[in-house]
């Protein structure tokens, strides 16, 4: 885990303060938009654990996002469960279970196989939701009520209130950020970064590389399930598009745009991409064309994302820092 440089940490604290006071100023539309962005940010952070830290390029991450959302939605609609305390563990457990199965199959392979297999298995999950009427089929499901947190008669938190939803999402985002920071500082985090940098050496050092990869895959899937729960609570709607590989591609774009191998990168990427979409929507309805060209340019000219750019700007001096910035996530090892 990279120790954050001081300017970056200061920016993050500023950003957090901004997000905390934002609902006091922003109008409804933007409160909703920022909530959506923060949900995507949680989703993208979970993928970054795989792509940026462990070095596993998964093109099927939307599967776990969708599972979390669908499980929460179906529990609300068909099981009349509305307590957050029941829905969150259920959504996360379902995603974790499927992540364990998909991970177990795909971890056996590497590189291009891994990309294709995660894509194909996620597509299987897509058809599972798409073809079976229980899950609403191609139309998806409208979720009838929003989750809440209540003890007895007192409702502590009701997600149908947009400001509560906003702060709940913000809280989850910060919690996931801190939790992953702790994970990545722990020996577990050092090990998965080591696997990305030199898998052969980690194997030679006696680490059971597959177990670590599988663990990272399951953790990432579980957090994606949490993000899916947030999405279901926010949008009160789930459909197969949430599981489609376009969603997986989109979240990969967000990770790379923000800067992979940093935890703040995915948050930054989610903000930039969605705000850009909002901006472009005012000009043309060909957002996907703009996004396609944008992604192409990003790959060509900004391979380390905005995070890499910031790193270069805030500490331009020493050569080793530049190298570290070029390697994005490898900063942590140098700082270790």
């Amino acid at each position: 885990m990279p120790t954050l440089s001081r300017p970056v940490a200061a920016l993050l604290v500023l950003g957090l303060l901004g997000l905390m006071v934002f609902p006091a100023f922003g109008d409804t539309f933007y409160i909703r938009l920022v909530t959506k962005i923060m949900v995507l940010a949680v989703f993208a952070m979970s993928l970054d654990l795989l792509v940026g830290y462990t070095g596993l390029v998964s093109l099927g991450h939307a599967a776990f996002f969708g599972i979390g959302g669908y499980v929460a939605g179906v529990l609300i609609n068909k099981g009349d469960v509305t307590s957050i305390l029941a829905l969150v563990p259920a959504a996360m457990a379902a995603s974790a279970l499927v992540a364990a199965i998909i991970g177990w199959i795909s971890i056996r392979t590497t590189g291009i196989y891994f990309i294709m297999i995660t894509l194909a298995l996620a597509q299987m999950v897509y058809y599972f939701f798409h073809d079976i009427d229980f899950w609403g089929g191609a139309d998806g499901i409208n979720i009838y009520s929003r989750p809440l947190l209540a003890f007895g008669e007192t409702v502590l938190l009701d997600l149908s209130d947009r400001v509560s939803m906003y702060y709940f999402t913000l809280g989850v985002m910060v919690a996931v950020f801190l939790l992953l920071s702790v994970f990545l500082r722990a020996p577990f985090g050092r090990t998965i970064v080591g696997i990305r940098l030199n898998e052969g050496r980690m194997t030679a050092l006696g680490y059971d590389v597959r177990h670590y990869k599988l663990a990272a895959f399951i953790i990432a899937g579980t957090i994606a399930g949490l993000a899916g729960f947030l999405e279901a609570s926010r949008a009160v709607y789930m459909n197969p598009a949430h599981v489609s590989w376009h969603e997986s591609g989109l979240v990969l774009v967000i990770v790379l745009l923000g800067g992979m191998g940093t935890l703040y990168g995915p948050i930054l990427g989610a903000f930039v991409l969605v705000l850009l979409e909002d901006f472009v929507a005012g000009i043309t309805d060909r957002w996907l064309l703009v996004m396609g060209l944008f992604v192409i340019c990003m790959v060509l000219f900004l391979p380390n994302g905005i995070g890499g750019l910031i790193n270069r700007l805030v500490r331009p001096r020493s050569r080793s820092d530049k190298q570290a910035a070029a390697g994005a996530g490898s900063v942590g090892v140098a700082d270790g």
């Binding site: 291009i112 990309i115 798409h130 073809d131 790379l256 060509l300």
Partner: protein
Amino acid sequence: MWRKKHVRGAESRPPPSCVTRGRWMDLTYYLIQILNGLQYGFLLFLVASGLTLVFGIMGIINLAHGSFYMIGAYLAYWLIGETGSFWLGLLAAIPLSVLVGLLVERLGIAFLYKRDHLYQVLFTYGLILVFNEMRSILWGDDVHGVAAPAILSGSFWLTDTQAYPVYRLFISLVCVAVAGILYLVIQRTRLGMTIRAGASNREMVQALGIDVNRLFAIVFGLGAALAAFAGMIAAPISSVYPGMGEHVLIISFVVVVIGGVGSIKGAFVGAMIIGLADTFGTVFLPAGAGVVVYAVMAFVLLWRPQGLYGRAI
């Protein structure tokens, strides 16, 4: 974009009552399904062979490969409409699709040779979005039918009630011919020798003084043309619709993964397996048809993670 699953086969399948009527009908019914499965497999082979070659030789994972299939189908739809003749339209569409492939390689993929797979995935993902939007701008978002040429529009009547369309047979025969030519080119010509060498050891081919840039352009153009050609001849039975490329792309990935990356033979066997599995999945398990091919893939991978004909990984 996802509303439509593959529409293949719907019109040639007899009503369910025919199936139960007699043993002979059962047999012809399954014969028709086998033919459908093989025909689908042949089409998949044309798409997957390009995908597997591009990866095996160039080390590029190309998500936009399915877009070539879509482009081929739309070019066929457009040019057949313009010229009023199936054959003329096809004749005009083939060189155009080769041109598109070469342009994409020179102006886009060429920047990605030394880059990590992650960037190739993102770049070609961006390409898909661009191609889809261009299609939407040029031809709109509607589903269009393409007429099969009159000479091929009939059916063979196998029993009183069951028929097999001539055009589907034509597709299978053309695909077999193309696969045969591909086999001869790869096994018997100097170019094919270079391609095979490139697939087994890229650096060595480079070190021996082969013009790799030229080789890459040829391989990519060939792969794009094969995918586009598959789209063209499939257009009359599947019609052309947005999202057709992505469906084929992901199924082709499954084919390549089953067959082993870089292996043409693997692509052929994988395509046959998936073609038949998908067709019979629709027959026996209509509710879960979408899942069957992926389940087949998962089983093959548990048994051989590198695919049937892949090198150990």
